[in-house]
Point group: C2
Chain length 404, copies 2
Amino acid sequence: MAVGEAVFPRMSVLDGLRLGTAEAAIKKPGRRDLVVVELPENTAVAGVFTRNAFCAAPVHVARDHLARSAVRYLLINTGNANAGTGEQGMKDAEYCCGALASLVGCAGEAVLPFSTGVIGEPLPVARIEAALPRALESLDDSSEAWQRAGEGILTTDTRPKGATATCQIGGQTVTINGISKGSGMIQPNMATMLGFVVTDAAIESDLLSSLLRETTQVSFNSITVDSDTSTNDACLLMATGRSAQVSSPKEVAAFRAALEEVMVTLAQAVIRDAEGATKFVTLQVEQARTVQEARDVAFTVAHSPLVKTALYASDANWGRILAAVGRAPVDDFDVNAVTIDLGAVRLVEHGGRAADYTEEAGSREMAREDITIRILLGRGESAATVWTSDLSHEYVSINADYRS
Amino acid sequence: MAVGEAVFPRMSVLDGLRLGTAEAAIKKPGRRDLVVVELPENTAVAGVFTRNAFCAAPVHVARDHLARSAVRYLLINTGNANAGTGEQGMKDAEYCCGALASLVGCAGEAVLPFSTGVIGEPLPVARIEAALPRALESLDDSSEAWQRAGEGILTTDTRPKGATATCQIGGQTVTINGISKGSGMIQPNMATMLGFVVTDAAIESDLLSSLLRETTQVSFNSITVDSDTSTNDACLLMATGRSAQVSSPKEVAAFRAALEEVMVTLAQAVIRDAEGATKFVTLQVEQARTVQEARDVAFTVAHSPLVKTALYASDANWGRILAAVGRAPVDDFDVNAVTIDLGAVRLVEHGGRAADYTEEAGSREMAREDITIRILLGRGESAATVWTSDLSHEYVSINADYRS
């Protein structure tokens, strides 16, 4: 299941950047499950990684390589997360990096590994190694290569996720292309399951890193399917430097806006393709004392199984939204100041049901695929937006059957 | 659905305490939905109530009456929570207390009101008022009256929940009887949905209150079905004073042990009857730095939809348990020190799968109805136990259909 239609966008070529894929039969045969991304020399790379304490072996290795070396290749597999695999998992991730490095003639630490899939199974390194030559043969810079790479990183996702944007910097067109994956075990904490965003702009490394962190916060760190932060979350922002330099405040602002558009589109695509999703839900919390408070309220509502099942049923059960808001971790909470709107319909005011609310109006809004719940706390000036999905029978089926 | 068999226990008579029920057609006709409990004079009463900021009108009124007056009657309805009902809800709750008071000849504030059911609908006061005489006529002190009262407070619960225990105090037998209800919207915070526990012991009011708070923490505050703290949670502990006085440290210890047995049994009964439950799951977290840390880890695992769906599927998907432990809010978390057992089988040690783990052994444990997950954090001496249920198709069905 997935919400709405999604067309993989037409991606512009980024000079020097190529993507290759192969079928390595990592979990099962007959699907694209191995992706190699080749970066041009001198590409600046910034990364954010999961804060799950049980983070996966490739996360450890990618973080380490990124700190020590320039990056030339990304090696991404699906079907196996190489997480909960202890020391052997670390060796396996290093081994795969080394195998790719020896085929292309670079240092092993110039390769960053990423894995996604089932947790706790040994990584099938022999199958990955055997498929590497085919992935390298297919390296290509076309839009089709981006789409194949987008497909090659999926797990329970039903469709590839891509986004692209351009902006004008110093008279030159700068392009930003990105792909992401993720459908379940989604409450990213500093990253999504996997996101890879590349620009041809030239961006100094500290600036690149802060741009990634800022836009991650309002995109991948603002989505949740099921509150389960993955062991393998990672998001990279890469700048090849073949186009204009981004450095003045005005240039940074223009670039940031385009980057945020790409990041938010990719994050929303994860929610639209969430496991079992039939609804795409925007939670806008306003008039909070702090952004963190607004986020806390939004995530409390977004994680409520009772709100999520009501959304699935298209039932305007506003009492459940009110109950979830009421249990959010907010100090000195005056519920009489709270207002809750469902789309264009006011649900709650003065601590109870809005005076002119009707069940018909509520049901009409709830029947939509795209639903916005706006919660005004009446106690400050801060706001936050979080996106989530509903909780359906299909979500339970997918996750009760995933390993079988 | 519910886990295992449950027999309502044989309750001893508590001198002077009577329970009555009636069919008031509050939500729909043909079911017992109104309960009156009559307490003997001079009964000491302690209460804990929901911390949900949007707490229901009866919670406000019960808290207020309890602070101002001796208590003679409890008036409990199901089918309507009288929550999210603003000023009118407060008036309605007071009105019902007054109606009962005028029939029995006591002050309105000697009545404590409790409601459970759908949020946001006006309380049908006329129907409650009309049914009060029938509830009073049925007042009785028998075990059957306790069971009828247990039935009269249910919502989506499939069976009444009772517990009883005795202890010897100063050569006299002291009895503790209790009933509870709750099946969904369960992560009590200072109380369960509704719990009523009565003893014939004589207990001074401050001691009664601290006994209630202490035993609530390890019973109703240690269960979760779906992380949704209700607007109507309340738990009362009442001491009629007709039997022995509990005051010396030794007497308090004996009484506390019996009380904890009743409270834990009632709390566990809520989980065994959780919405859609097919499993009863005990999460034992040990070797934590603080009890709060142990509780945080236990609740993080207990709330994980991916762990809960794996439990439903009887799938020993230990990677999901590991991932949930890893995202718990624990500082300086060294995952290499963590050990996780599923029943008698070691799942995780040294940051990965236990050396002698086999899928067969894991699946055998996971197939049971009663499952214990033991998580040793390896960083301290504190422990906590939390009980939860699984996440099934039936849970989604119940909550997608609840209002229809």
